[in-house]
Symmetry: C2
Subunit: 376 residues, 2 copies
């Protein structure tokens, strides 16, 4: 029997995590959290009977407290509440499916308590990879990736062996093959039409700009300790090969499966064991080809900008991520054009004076500052 | 420093094994053997300075004895000589790159001495899989596959986890896509024109008939303890994915690389470590697609016949293999047509009275008997 807390349990990854946990049958839920979706959280509380549930929004937390007063679940709120969920003594591991920099503090708190992290929050490693990986090692906390690409790499590396290169596959998103002039007037709906994956809006836009892949490169660098020079991005439209690892002997291992986040979630929860899952089996009678192409980094500049920020390190990835998050918000609100996302990110990277070894609070302050500047 | 003996050192796998050993630099050669290519064996003796060298052909052995009289290598002959090479006390492991049933006795002898087997001889497991795998377990001898497909599966399984399915990839050989009436008058040269792999003649014909894949299914069954129902053959024309493993959670791992036998040889020699190799690195800028198709088992009947023989077990795979070997010999000599290979094999399977648990000598006698019957 494993007991987990799920940060961001009302989001896409969070709900799928609970679905997987329910299927497995031997997974208990210690804690849940939401930003403000208390309707769904209430349903989850009644179904999974967690010890504790956190609502980031203080006002919504008060409402939830009333509505679940008849249950045994303790309702807490704010960042402190999230940390209570992530560090709950009954939770052996924490699924960090919370979106945004909000995941950083509760993830860090969980690692402080030596809990294993089933990592689905990109910002944790993108903005604070150096701090987090070092602390995880010190505290003996495992970081098990939930992202499909990093899960693929992690699975390929389980047999051991020195790694020479990581090949991160990318679907190419909604606008693969288009040139810059064809992207000038694309709409939000067009950008949200991802060919393979059904995901949240922010990540779908990041997929269309290739920023998502850039963030994954930075994550992979921290997670697997691989130099940026040895991380390659390859476009793979079918999203069947979720990523690959080349070992020092030149042999490549790849992990394959239909695009279904429940598999990497299931793998992370069951790790290091493999247990029967609910995902659909690959039908080779229906699989005729897997295609590959090179990313067009002139058109989709955010991929290069992300790698640039990763290589320069310090607070650069924080600026990259914050500027992107704010710019994507503006794009989704119809306030800027698609290509302006990259322009905004680049402008902020250019003018930023890097802090080499930022603290967590410096990272969080900088994130807020950049976003305020862009969104005001 | 590892010390190996190489059975069949003058063949395709044997010479590549020595090339890999030389590159590695820390591999000593205890023994070598050839059927009758004493010219090349002499060169190898002078270069690798083995303790012992065996020539299967007694007459050729006498000639070699004279020509390498100035070296410290002991020359031996016949089956007994092959066993002296495979069991040489300095050899920690034995590469069984000898072709045909001739590999069975020296491989068995090596396992008796607890030596690890780097298995490149198909007949060992096809004809005597039950005996050999049981004995290897008893003696604590590892069987490490050298065949590219089985090496791929072996690599994918290194991370552990229960296996649900093995997906053996097949290039489809020289005649992929053709129907039966288009195969009636194909020539030996056409059959020998393999799209990806440069191999010996026998195996290239087996690749064209899909018998090679059938033999590999039987090998995989024994090597990995997987039911025939859970071994699937998929045509993959590019020979880049060398095989795949599906785990119980539905996740698939695949091993990729250019078609180059030096990689699985290198892997087997270095196992369980991964060490820098001489193989060409995959260039994803040049890889545009990987394609898949279903094998046409109506046209290429030897694949079904092989699986049938495997499922029925006992001496059936020995009959399959012996009849095929003889029939391929007749085809290569221009004495029968391409489609007659399958007809001959089927006829002999049909009339054979199966021995359920044959001994090694029964297997070897039966092999000789079937071949004599076909070749006389």
């Amino acid at each position: 029997m494993k007991t987990i807390s799920v940060l961001g349990s009302t989001g896409s990854i969070g709900t799928q995590t609970l679905e997987v946990a329910e299927h497995l049958g031997n997974v208990k839920i210690a804690g849940l959290s939401t930003n403000r979706n208390i309707k769904l959280l209430e349903e989850q509380i009644r179904r999974f009977k967690p010890e504790i549930a956190a609502v980031a929004d203080e006002k919504a937390a008060l409402d939830l407290k009333v509505s679940v007063a008849d249950t045994n679940t303790k309702v807490v709120s704010g960042v402190d509440g999230l940390c209570q969920v992530s560090t709950h003594k009954k939770a052996g591991s924490v699924v960090t499916s919370i979106v945004g920099i909000a995941g950083l503090i509760p993830t860090n708190a969980a690692i402080d308590e030596g809990k294993d992290i089933l990592l689905a929050n990109k910002e944790t490693l993108v903005t604070a990879g150096d701090i987090i990986m070092k602390k995880a090692e010190e505290k003996g906390a495992s970081i098990i990736p939930v992202d499909s690409e990093h899960s693929a790499i992690f699975q390929c590396m389980q047999g051991g062996g020195a790694v020479d290169r990581i090949i991160l596959t990318a679907s190419g998103g909604s606008f693969f093959g288009r040139k810059k002039h064809e992207l000038e007037n694309v709409t939000v709906d067009e950008a949200l039409a991802h060919p393979n994956w059904s995901m949240g809006k922010k990540i779908t836009i990041d997929s269309a700009t290739l920023m998502n892949k850039g963030l994954e490169v930075i994550e992979a660098h921290h997670l697997f300790g691989i130099d940026y020079d040895n991380i390659e991005v390859v476009i793979h439209r079918e999203s069947i090969i979720h990523s690959m690892v080349e070992f020092t002997d030149g042999s490549i291992l790849a992990q394959l499966g239909y695009p279904d986040m429940r598999l990497p979630i299931h793998y992370a929860i069951c790790y290091p064991e493999r247990v029967s899952s609910i995902v659909e089996r690959m039908d080779f009678k229906k699989l005729s080809k897997l295609s590959f192409a090179q990313p067009d980094v002139d058109t989709f500049r955010l991929l290069s900008l992300a790698v640039w920020a990763g290589v320069h390190g310090g607070t650069m990835p924080t600026v990259l991520n914050a500027a992107n998050e704010a710019a994507v918000e503006l794009f989704l609100e119809g306030k800027i054009k698609f290509l302006e996302i990259a322009e905004i990110v680049e402008k902020h990277l250019q003018k930023h004076k890097k802090i080499i070894n930022p603290s967590l609070s410096e990272i969080i302050d900088l994130d807020r500052q950049i976003k305020e500047e862009i969104l005001r």
